[in-house]
Each structure stands twice: as C-alpha cells, then as structure tokens.
Subunit: 405 residues, 2 copies
Amino acid sequence: MINIAVAQSGGPTCAINASLVGVFKESLKVPKIDAIFGSINGIEGIIDNHLVDMKSMILTNADIELLRQTPSTVLGSCRYKLPDWREDEEVYKKIVDTFKQRNIGAFFYIGGNDSMDTVNKLSEYVYEQGLDVKIIGIPKTIDNDLCITDHTPGFGSAAKYVATTMHEITRDSIVYSIPSVTIVEIMGRHAGWLTASSAVLHAMGETAPHLVYVPEIKFSLERFLADVRQEMSKHKAVIVAVSEGIEVPEGVQSGVVDNFGHKYLSGIGKYLEEIVRNEIGCKVRSVELNVMQRCSSHVGSKTDIDEAEAIGAAGVRCALEGNTGKVMVFKRVSDTPYTVVIDTAAANEIANNEKPLPRKYINSAGNNIRDFAIDYFMPLIQGDLQLVTEHGIPKHFAIHESVLK
Amino acid sequence: MINIAVAQSGGPTCAINASLVGVFKESLKVPKIDAIFGSINGIEGIIDNHLVDMKSMILTNADIELLRQTPSTVLGSCRYKLPDWREDEEVYKKIVDTFKQRNIGAFFYIGGNDSMDTVNKLSEYVYEQGLDVKIIGIPKTIDNDLCITDHTPGFGSAAKYVATTMHEITRDSIVYSIPSVTIVEIMGRHAGWLTASSAVLHAMGETAPHLVYVPEIKFSLERFLADVRQEMSKHKAVIVAVSEGIEVPEGVQSGVVDNFGHKYLSGIGKYLEEIVRNEIGCKVRSVELNVMQRCSSHVGSKTDIDEAEAIGAAGVRCALEGNTGKVMVFKRVSDTPYTVVIDTAAANEIANNEKPLPRKYINSAGNNIRDFAIDYFMPLIQGDLQLVTEHGIPKHFAIHESVLK
C-alpha cells in the first residue's frame, strides 16, 4: 500500500479543481492506493508537512461534483520555485522527510511552467536519493503557453469567457450615435493565445474584434493609432483586443511612471485609452477582464473541464505504470471531428519554456487573427456545464479558510 | 388603424430588449395596430424621423427569442434630455411632425430617470396640442433607483452577475498563503442597490463580501482603513464591495487630479487599492466590473427577463386603455412566495427622482448589508435563461450597423 499526494500551483483557473477531481477519482479505483493527501499551498504544503486527508474532505459524489465546478484552487496555491538541488539541498530534505513520513509513493503537481520546473527538479532529486516516489506534472494555465501539449486545461474556459464577454461588450459598445473605441485588456504577459481566442467571434459573423494586439508582434503606438483611425472609417464602434503583455514605452507597465512622468496605476488598456483620447479625441473606454477571465466557471467550457479531469486521471495511471519526471500532454488528432489523445512528455522539455502564438495565426499586418486559426480555438470552448446552483448562483466547494491559514 | 413607435434610452442592460419584445409581441395581438416602428437612438430617432419597421426586422419566432436574450439596446440609445416645452418648442414640433407623418397613436419609451422626464414632458406637450398620442414609459436601469416601482427591469440580471462573479472572485482571492484585500468596484453613482445585492452571498454561507460601501453612507478613509484592518484580523482574504459613487476627497472621481496632485485615470476601486497599499502595505487588488455588469446576458436572471417582457406588454395594454403620461411599475405583493403585480404611476412622480437604498438595509456601522435585506434581492436573481448558442457562445440579434449610423 502507498499513499499519494497532490498539489495545485500558480494562478487560478476554472479547470484546476477538475484535474484534482481526476486524480482523486482515479486513485479511489486503485486498491494499492490508501490515503490521498492534498498539499496546502502547492509545494509549500509538502515542505511544511501541511497536508489534508482528501477522503475526509470529499465525502460524497455531490462533493465531487461541486469541487469539479468550483473555480480556483481548493487546496490553495503558491509561486514557489525550487532551487537547484545540487547547490541547495535543504528544502529537498524537508520534502523527502514528508514523503517518507507520509509514505508517499506518487506526487501529482497541477500547474504551469514553474510547477513543471518543480516536477523536473524534484523527480531528479528523488531518483538520485534512490527513493521510489513518482513525480508527475498535470498541466494548467489560462495562458496556453506550455510546450509540446496542444493546449492546457483552463485555457478553454478562459477563452469561452473572453469570447462570450467580448460578444456582449460588442453589443454594449454600439448603442450611442457617436463613434467610439473600446479597448479590452486580456491576460497574457508573454503569449497572445487568450487574446487571439477572441477572434472566434468572426465565425459568428461579427466584425469585432476589429483589431487584435498580441505580445508576439512588436507594438508601435504610431501603427496602433493608424489602425484605429482606419477601423473608425469603417465601423462606428471599434473593438480592440489587447494582451496585457504587449511592449509599450518603458515604465508604463512596470507601475513606476507613465509617459507623463506620473506614477502609473493601471494596465495597458487604460494606457491605450488615454492615448486614443489624447490623439484621436473620440469617445473611448477600456475594459480589463481582470481575474474574471480565469475564475468565471459559471461560463466554463465543458470540453475544458472534462479534459482537465481526464488528464488528472491519466496522470495517476502514468505514475502507476512506473513513470516519473513526466508531464501529461494533449495531442490533437484532428480539428473536425475534434479528437485528442493524452500522452506524456519529459518535464525538462516543458519546464521554463514558453510556446508563443504561431506567427502564421496572425495576419500580415500583425493586427488581427487569421480565419483558419479559429479552427484551433473553436473546439476548446464547446459545451456548457450543468451547474449545481443555490439561490440562483452556482455553488462552490470550499474547505474552511482556517485550514488554508 | 394606428401605428406605434418604441424607443430605448440610457445605459444598456440585459433586459431592455426583452421589454422591446414585450411591446412588439403584445402589439402584434392588437388588430387596430398596424406598423410597429422602432426609433433609432431613443428619442433622437423620433426627432429625426429615423425609424425602422420592426415587422420587417423581426421576421420569425426565432428572431424574437434571440432578441429577448440579446443584451444592450438593439435600436441604439441616447442621453438626450428634452427642454421645457414652454421655453423651447422647436424639438417638440419635430417630434409631432414625425408622430403625424407616421400616424403614431402610441409611443413607448424604455428607459431610466431621464427617459421618464421625456415621457412626462412629451405627454404634456402632446396633450396641450390636442394630439391623440399616448406616451407610456417602460422602466429599466441596473441602478434600481426609480421611485414607486419595487424594482426595475435590468437590475435582477445585473445583480445576478454581480453575485455570481463576486462568488468566483472570492474563490480566486484566497489561494495564496499571504493575507490580501480585494476591492470590487460596482456601478451606482448615487444609489447603492447593485453593490448591496452582492450581500446575497451571505445566504450561501460566505463571509464575503466582508465590507460593503454605498453612496448612501458618508465615506471616511479613516473608517475604511480601520474596517479593513479589523476584517484582516479575522479573514485571510478580505473582499470589499464598493459603489463607484461613494464620495472621496475632491477631484479623485472627477478625472482631474488624485490626492497626490496627479491626473487620475481610474475609478474608486483603483484609488482605494492605492490607499490600502500605501497605508496597510498588504497584497491588494482592485477589480472593476465595468460594462460586464450591465451586459452579461449569458448569466441573466430569468425572473428579470420574464418581467421585463411582461412590463413591456403591459405598457401596450395601458396605452390602449387610453392612458398617457404613465410609467409602468412593479408592486411587490410578497417576498415568499415572490409575487409582483404590474401597476402604473404618473411619469412626473418618477421623472428626475431617485430612490436610495433604505438606511434600514444597511448595518449600524454603515459598512455592510443586514441579513433581512437579502429577502428583497433574492427573488430578483432567480432562474436561468435557456440560451440559444452558436459555436458554444450565446447568439445575439443585431441589426446591421449601417442602420444605426
């Protein structure tokens, strides 16, 4: 008999608890697995031996269903990066102490780039120590920027939120008789996947978003203003999708100073709003989709949540087959009908790398997304969740906040 | 035979097209009503004789269903305030010209405070001219601040969005091991109804929102900071709901200067975020629900949309009974079971007045909402819409943007 441990790391998504459910349900099926421990606040819970017994936390099928539809990370999260174990072994010794004391035979880490670095380093260290603990990574990030995998759990739900909301903002923006510009700021510091996904609206016959700016294309304020003027000559209400991570003059995004020399309090959307107001002088509004784009599980993608659960479960089977230092990945077999299979990749191939939006998805002017790229995004946002509600609002599963302290 | 005209005015909501559907469907039933004209951009369309034939725009029951679930105002909107007709008759003459030329026997104006002022003035003028055109107001506003009516169409859907989203933001905010404050800025320049509605989460066992600030209570920065410190001693992640309209030191909200003497680019949420960062020094984030709170029909309240349609239809019956200068209102018969009837009020009693959140709904400290007030809000957010979707996203009804130009 062995016990297993599972943890969640990095920024919240709508799908990260579904992957936890996948690990949990698959582990329940395995006779040789006894306790299922949840590590509080990612790897920090393993370091500090702060674990919860998930079988005493999740008692019923109804609990499982609620957890599956709950956004964010029920076990808390962290932004902890392990040092190189060849240089600093101290924290690794604590981890190994926990593994031994709790009789952990496998550890599943649900997270993004940084978490896969943890999977990589920890699997190496444990192997060097001759300890039989399988370390498996389960991907997640709304940024969709992990290498090798076709896409990441959490991205589909975020993309569905972005497309649904951009559609509604489009309706909202066109009501008055005067011309206007609406700038929607979307998450993605280094990769434009989520911003690009807003272009699925084109498949619904919408002309919006009229302009799309992603970090993969060098940003020019002059070009931006020319683009906006050009679109204003064609449309009364121009909708612009912009990644938070596009590069603008130094200091603007750092929170230090804006280009007027003042302390700058906001993001790129507010910055471009001011530019348009000053240079074009039309009605302009900026909208930051903020944390809603990563936590709006009320509009989650069924495809995404189902896949997130499936890839968590596959991680358990992968460990039981004797693998370690692996990350579970999706391989897309076809767009239509949409077919994916789950495979594995070496953690060191995924850790610390980023997959940018392909240049071929972006038009030659660098200011919108090509139609054929929509075939990539479209399957990921399909299907609605049948949500359990209370008082008209989707219910959530939560462990008491005192446990998270 | 008469024709009728209908227009939409003020800020968009999720329910304003449902009221249009109510007017349209009820009018179709009436043999003496021939053409149903939609006025483009509110009263401006009447002034400029810019009308569309709605029967040639809405062709099928499927069109009606789509329009019903489409947020914002399909006919465009305006912020036009009529002058006193005793002082300036010119624009009234244009309106009367349109009424006569189009053989309009009744005009339905869907809008908020300002629109009810239009209903009031226009009904007086038309009556003075001896013209038989019935002028009826159909209420709408997410602010819920119209007098006499128990609540306004559009408010329930906005409240459902706010509660659902605050619930998700609560999950999102608690993941890291360090203490944090999240400030959610909610619409409402003069009335705190929508901000207060976030307190329905308390009925779901949530401690969030831990603090609620509305314009009805004089705001004090010192009290605010003391409140936040107090809540931080009890909760790891403190969630604050704040109305955009609370009064803070002069200039902050005017967009002129912040209290550091700099040009201030953002709203109250960002302002309070900076205050907390500077004075308390903890992790802090502000979230502006922005236009999403008024246009997120994907999470609309079925109660709200059904009522919006019903009150539009009732407006047509009211006009046919010979009334003019009236506004349709809801009267609540009971909370449980939730029962409302539709009645009328004189437009001059509703125009230019605002109904604040009652003091009794607010706790004695002035920083949260009392439990019994939840009985008022709860029925308004009940029920989900069965949305028609395309490519996984709710479909919308839209007239070509060239018509709106």
